[in-house]
Symmetry: D2
Subunit: 347 residues, 4 copies
């Protein structure tokens, strides 16, 4: 059994981790910390966990995280990098669901997250936790920086196009028009996320610039080995879970005869959590609700030169907690799907 | 033109007042205060008002509220009673959308609202702003305590039963099972009101006791002149606006032959904002969305001894801002429907 | 492995059965019928099942249902009773999610469902599939009539009160104010269930009389062995899944000193799927979303004589498919929780 | 008073027309037809209209549409063209909310709508009812083909870019990623529009090709006088009303120094129903809910060469019924805003 600790389990990625780990056959939930909720049984905050999780939150200094095999950080940005060194020193692996170990360039991190990076050396060894791209490195990693929810969908959606030896599309003019349910904003008391504000409503936000832009560009360039240019426009959907990314790429003349359906199917042939749907499909976010699955469909409207790729994922699962568990499975030599084969909940 | 001021216009009842008053043909919006938003054009906070409201918020001390004919308080409990005396002294009428002037008994007020009442003398002259019950008193009032959203629906729903010379139902065993959209919780940053918490979900709350209980009992007793007993169970509906109250009353043996459909129709025959629907109807909250209308249907399932009354209103209109404007119309001698004849928005 | 067939798998209870059975460790999905969708892979209709269910729908005459150990009917009323005899004759057990085997009295069935009952003899041996009441009979049953979604919540919510040797409450004056998500109306193309009609809206329906009334009264009387009288008012909530029943019962004078919290906890002490929450709780439907759990809270507002019981369940799981699997587990001697321990999905 | 008839008032654009026309000070609602609902008071079908509309539906042959000054067709495609000739012959003007008079080229009409066009001569004189583009022609028109909901947002959103003497953007590579509430699908009993299907879900549809594509391209080319190329990807949002179009246009090198904020503000300076928001804004659909307003924001992320234009409208008002009333006002010499100054409903 893998002994697992969670730092900061009071948010949506935290409770989702608990949902998945509570049912994971190889995991023993060992500690979950929250200074504010010290002593409160987790199931008192989240009654959905009654009968499944008997742990109580404990203040960080009381929790024996060093006794864990792995610790997940479901915390605001900045927390994991403050605690990682000590955990690593005692042999505990670290999986951060926040942004501390995502961006390779600390200057870029500081620009977008407004804080200096406190441990560039650990960042140096950290692995970006996108198994479909980095599986081998994950296997050997001690520190994982899990991708953001949007970046997961954008990178995997563009990956088959960019992973070829030569460019198929204008890689400097990529567009990602992304739509997310409001759980992506976290379990924070903010007016803009109230049901009375966000329900029966639709809007874009952060068009000027969003933290997931530099992360995604970094990832796309890692895939292609070439420079990438991306316009990323996020939108807020009046739903709880789910991301739908609509990706646009301009075909290069030499790629016009490519069979993109086949390209995508081949690229993901061995992936258990990426489902390339039949040509002509329109994946729905609910088709992956509460599961670690991603579904992708490739379109070329009117047979023209603009490729349209539709990607759906559950932002809390494949976009966060589920991907974290997937990485953990890889790191500990388990079958990658262990504890992650939930059938999506529909309707 | 009636010069109107609003104290505290940043919440849902505030913006709803602005929506109604901006289109009211006899109203000149004169001042709107918010210490926190001093200087901010109202339409910057609520873009829906762009082109309709050119006022900016001003700090209370800058706003010349004394130049108004009437001031609405769309504020937390306690604010109106702190400012009413000065306004009244300069001849300004006061309409409070909060609870300061609802409860006749200051001890009850203090018990439920946790603060002492600072002006019992003004409370003494204040009129409970439920036009269908108190129209004559409202006409002469200087101070109005507007009913709560739930109490409006419960009182008008039970009124025809209680307004008779002798009891028709067990007036000590009334039940109100009420359901409200989340805007009833106000424009406050609270986790329980987040879309990701309240959407696709249903729950009761406050079963132990809710502030609208004593207010409603007081109102029911004022209608009947007899003692009333009420169990009130509020629930939260994943929708923005609307209250649906399902009322239960046990018929007394001597009332079994009463034609309750006729009783209700007669009682509200001259009311412009209460619509008794045909027998067998199931009123929907959306049938009154964004309007000052209330719709009521009377049922007697299986021809038995339990009367079931269904009441719908828009909690922000007939349950708050609209009822305030209705009172204002009465107080200033206008036709009661002036500025209040919006057709409900459906779908 | 239990070989399972499903007749009529294109509705919401059908796809929910598939979700549960696909992950059930002791089940082999053997056949699923739909005349209209003959040949269509189930996962083409419900992409959430891609990778989990490889079966295709087949026309009834092609499906070898007789080779199954048990057949679920997720069909309109009337279908199961037409096919049960043949299946039983070949040793196949039958679990009907519709109403064919719920009502003991065929006259009542015909009155409420508008069709004669075609096999009173089979009805005679059928067992009402409410394990918390009928576990022993279910164990030996060949034919199960599964309770309706509302009746499950009402019966279990009232059960501890009625199961005592003498009445604790006025059993002739029970009230159930119930609220259901729209999946309860089934996957049928009806205008009233459109998102543009049912969203941001709330209403009662069927106040005059609802099919679940006689079923529930029959069940309550079976529990108490005494006559029961119930007023049942169903409402439609703008959410997908979930039932919240708010139950009212008038205490008898001799029961005033009863500890109802203890009564409920004792009654359900050994039940794995009924969770009596701590005193003062307000269960939310989302706390059981996508799980077979029911949660109950008992209130006595103001310490008065009216008991208020709050019950939540997922109408498609404990209210339908999950309860069916629970019965199947009992009938085949499995642990009752096999394949049913999903952690509820929150948020 | 303008005598107005409506053919086919049982859908969402029909009831929205009724909402607007019932409150229009210069309109007398004269007839509303529905063969199926002959004799049914309109307010029985739509209780929101109780007290506002006293008309009953009448079968087409009974309705004296010839006595009207103008007849709106809120019908399926094909109905208006079958009845227009007779109405025009008696001097009645025609405003069609469907597609019969949108496409100039009958071959294109037949290709996308699957029926021959029955009156090319009337089509020849019909005017495309987009006042911000065609105001003068609308003033003199006898027949109006109202734009579709998506095309209204796309054309007005791109208009300032295309209306210049020389191209500013790559007009052959325009992209419109559009999102619509489900009322856009009409009041039709279809499974895909059920709340249990469309709620808490997001998806694209019609990526292969959508009827609003040729209409929009025709309109864009009419604005620019040049060839246009457009990729249009519609998506379904779990909300009732509202369209959000996110438009992408690649700047030409010679346009890099253009002040696009000023360009948009100037272009729409005199328009009462198009609001160009301040730079950096993110318009929300709810900011125009139930109103005829459109709001637009112009972005240039990262100061790069891709222009992003955000457009919101209420699909049932500016995208349908409201635009129809706006055209009527122009045709009959009224102030264009008569009866259309409703303040948007927020929250």
């Amino acid at each position: 059994m893998i002994k697992v600790g969670i730092v900061g389990g009071t948010g949506y990625t935290g409770v989702e981790l608990l949902r998945l780990l509570a049912a994971h056959p190889q995991v023993q939930l060992t500690a979950i910390t929250s200074r504010k909720e010290d002593g409160l049984p987790v199931a008192d905050m989240f009654p959905s966990l009654r009968g499944h999780v008997s742990l109580a939150f404990s203040a960080p200094e009381k929790a024996d995280l060093n006794a864990c095999d792995v610790v997940f950080f479901a915390t605001p940005h900045g927390v994991a990098m403050a605690q990682a060194r000590e955990l690593l020193a005692t042999g505990v692996k670290v999986i951060d669901l926040a942004a501390d170990f995502r961006l390779r360039d600390t200057a870029v991190f500081e620009q977008w997250y407004g804080m200096p990076h406190s441990c560039p050396d650990i960042l140096g060894e950290a692995v970006y936790g996108l198994p479909e791209v980095n599986r081998d490195a994950i296997r050997k990693a001690r520190v994982i920086g899990l991708p953001g929810c949007y970046p997961t969908s954008m990178q995997l959606g563009f990956a088959p196009l960019l992973a070829q030896g030569k460019p198929l599309v204008n890689e400097l003019g990529l567009i990602a028009d992304c739509k997310s349910g409001v759980s992506g904003a976290g379990r924070k008391a903010e007016i803009g996320s109230l049901l009375a504000e966000a329900s029966d409503n639709f809007k874009a936000y952060g068009v000027k610039g969003h933290r997931h832009l530099p992360e995604t560009v970094q990832g796309l360039e890692a895939i292609s080995g070439r420079k990438a240019g991306l316009t990323f426009v996020p939108h807020l959907v009046p739903m709880i879970r789910g991301i739908h990314s609509t990706l646009y790429a301009q075909l290069l003349p030499e790629a016009r005869s490519t069979d993109f359906q086949a390209l995508y199917e081949n690229h993901f042939r061995n992936e258990r959590f990426v489902d390339v749907m039949p040509a002509g499909s329109h994946p729905e976010t609910r088709s992956v609700r509460a599961s670690n699955m991603m579904r992708i469909a490739v379109h070329r409207p009117g047979g023209g030169d603009l490729l349209v790729v539709l990607v759906v994922e559950d932002n809390l699962v494949k976009g966060a907690a589920g991907q974290g568990v997937q990485c953990m499975n890889i790191m500990f030599g388990l079958d990658e799907t262990t504890g992650l084969m939930q059938v999506p909940v529909l309707p």
